[in-house]
């Protein structure tokens, strides 16, 4: 190894240096926006509104995080987002595992037909407006269930589970069957433990998807009680001026005259952004672990 290093030509050294430089810059570009939001949300609000905070946090304080909960609708939006993420991803995961298992059974009645019936929906879509009208006529507009029901059956996840089950030996299932175990029992006691790794992958992807979802609120919700955090953030950013008065009314008396802590539109949108980002940063290490696995299994089929 050291011998190789010895022989490296100046051109190769230059290339390596430029390459390292390139990736330092790229990584910086990807990370800095996150860092920028975080340091601004904990710095003095008058400084961050003036654009003075960009390298290190100045006059650190955490009152923003306490005060945004006083904002009209934010607490509710947080609840809605958490509820849809937990319920929605639990349903998707269980349904994907179950359907993946059912479709892996050769004796499923008209298996090919029904499997195609499900998988083909990945490739066509009636279009935004017909889908919207359909939700409307099903009574799912302004209904929390619109966050959950359409996402339950996810063809891609079903393919992942089915492929995974098919790569495991059949003998365990057969042994259990001979012992008299029914379909549900085999699913719960034999299949579920085996497919845990792929379940973890799906869980992580589904929950990130639910948490980040924006378009369904935009399309189907006019009742502000059902707004999600993402949607509320979008409204905050776009209604900065209206918000400023709203905040000053809701601000507690002790900070009303304190410019450093008094919330302004900039500090509100940045603090809410950080609240939206934090859970993602939190599950990110798990994401990292399961990403490649998920992609690779998906790629076999793709």
């Amino acid at each position: 190894m050291s011998l190789l290093h010895y022989k490296r030509k100046p051109g190769a050294v230059l290339f390596d240096a430029l390459n390292v430089f390139l990736f330092v810059v790229l990584t910086f570009l990807c990370v800095y926006p996150f860092y920028y939001l975080i340091i601004n949300s904990i710095s003095a609000n008058d400084l961050s509104a003036a654009g003075e905070v960009y390298i290190i946090p100045l006059q650190v304080h955490l009152t923003n995080y306490r005060d945004i909960l006083r904002l009209d609708g934010l607490y509710q939006a947080l609840l809605v987002s958490v509820a849809r993420t937990v319920l929605g991803s639990a349903c998707t995961v269980l349904a994907s595992a179950f359907l993946g298992f059912l479709f892996s059974k050769q004796n499923f009645w008209k298996r090919k037909l029904w499997y195609r019936f499900v998988v083909i929906t990945m490739y066509f879509n009636a279009g935004l407006i017909p889908v919207y009208m359909n939700m409307h006529s099903l009574g799912l507009t302004n209904n929390f269930l619109v966050y959950i029901l359409p996402a339950i059956v996810s063809p891609f996840n079903i393919i992942l589970v089915k492929t995974y089950i098919e790569s495991t030996p059949l003998s365990l299932q057969e042994a259990a069957q001979i012992d008299g175990a029914g379909v549900l029992r085999i699913f719960a006691y034999i299949i579920l433990p085996i497919i845990l790794p792929i379940i973890a992958t799906i869980l992580v992807f589904a929950s990130v998807g639910q948490w980040n979802s924006f378009q369904d609120t935009l399309l189907y919700m006019t009742d502000s009680k059902l707004y999600t955090l993402q949607y509320t953030l979008y409204r905050y950013i776009n209604q900065a001026r209206m918000l400023a008065t709203l905040i000053q009314e809701s601000q507690s008396a002790d900070v009303a005259s304190d410019l450093m802590r008094q919330m302004n539109p900039t500090s509100v949108s940045m603090t809410v952004s950080v609240v939206v980002i934090l859970p993602i940063l939190f599950v990110y290490p798990f994401l990292q672990r399961y990403i490649v696995k998920g992609i690779l299994i998906g790629a076999i089929k793709g």
Partner: protein, 318 residues
């Protein structure tokens, strides 16, 4: 099966759970989910009938006049409408086209990342550059708003301090270069993520090829050019085909959050246009017509691309 016929007591029990009978049970268990698929993926097709009526939001469809193909003709009948469609198509083609062109960047990213000498740095870079893929467009808009805003954003501040600008520029509001800007955000969000796919493909390349090339005296760049890049082509081809099939499906979320009065003319892609005329203006029939045509063209594209893939690679992509 053979075992069950051999043993005397078992057959009656076995008949109860015969494979065929079990097959019906399996189907019955899946039925509720199949119903959901029907409700949310097939039933909307029935909504295509709105294209044939003078439908107004709030009315019952039965009370609206059946007008046949009026809205289809309307789409191409008057000059303003044709210009509108052409403008939206131009935006869609420009933005999707730029995204297609930049789809080679993740390959470059993966190849160069693989050339980094420190494994630790590789891992760190890969972890951090994937991060943007996992946040939604609203958050990206929020970041853009914070960093590029007119008088408080760090971007203007930095450019002013470096004397590149004399006066701050309102980057987000202006409609200039909006196609490039949108493409840049897409690249920022997805480059690290898409590179993972190529890194995985790279790990699958036979190491002996590299060893043989080294023996033959090939340098680093020759190995990249003659071994790595060809090794990545199958993956690239599949992704490219999918991108072509989705040429019209640019989605609306990104463009919706970045849209404003100044840039609307050049940011409105097909999906956003459908939303704006359908949900925004309530012109449901016209929006349905555009939705329909888009779905049909997309499906046709998918079949063409799939056929092409079958011809050239002997493998389908769907």
């Amino acid at each position: 099966m053979r075992a069950s016929t051999k043993a005397g007591a078992i057959p009656s029990r076995r008949r109860l759970t015969s494979p065929q009978r079990e097959g019906y049970v399996l189907f019955a268990l899946a039925l509720p989910f199949l119903a959901l698929v029907f409700l949310f993926s097939y039933l909307p097709l029935w909504g295509w009938r709105y294209a044939l009526y003078d439908y107004l939001p709030g009315f019952k469809l039965e009370n609206c006049e059946f007008v046949g193909l009026k809205w289809f003709q309307f789409l191409v009948s008057n000059k303003t409408q044709v210009d509108e469609i052409l403008r939206v198509l131009r935006n869609t083609f420009a933005i999707s086209g730029l995204n297609l062109l930049t789809s080679v960047l993740p390959i470059a990213f993966a190849v160069l990342l693989n050339e980094l000498r420190s494994d630790r740095m590789k891992r760190v870079v890969q972890t951090l550059t994937t991060l943007p893929h996992f946040i939604g467009w609203v958050l990206i808009y929020s970041m853009a708003y914070a960093i590029f805003s007119y008088n408080t954003g760090v971007f203007n501040k930095a450019l002013l301090a470096l004397n590149i600008l004399d006066t701050p520029v309102n980057w987000l509001a202006s409609g200039e270069h909006i196609w490039l800007k949108m493409c840049a955000w897409s690249v920022w969000k997805n480059i690290g993520w898409n590179a993972i796919m190529y890194l995985a493909a790279m790990a699958g390349i036979d190491q002996e090829l590299y060893e043989a090339a080294t023996v033959d005296g090939a340098g680093r760049f020759r190995k990249i050019w003659h071994i790595t890049i060809p090794g990545l082509m199958p993956t690239f081809f599949v992704l490219l085909m999918m991108a072509v099939a989705n040429f019209l499906n640019s989605g609306m979320e990104q463009y919706y959050v970045f849209q404003n009065a100044l840039n609307q003319k050049s940011i409105e892609v097909l999906d956003l246009y459908v939303y704006n005329i359908g949900i925004g203006n309530g012109t449901i029939p016209l929006a349905t017509v555009v939705s329909m045509l888009k779905s049909i063209v997309s499906l046709t594209l998918l079949f063409i691309v799939n056929g092409l893939s079958k011809l050239t690679r002997g493998e389908t992509i769907i």
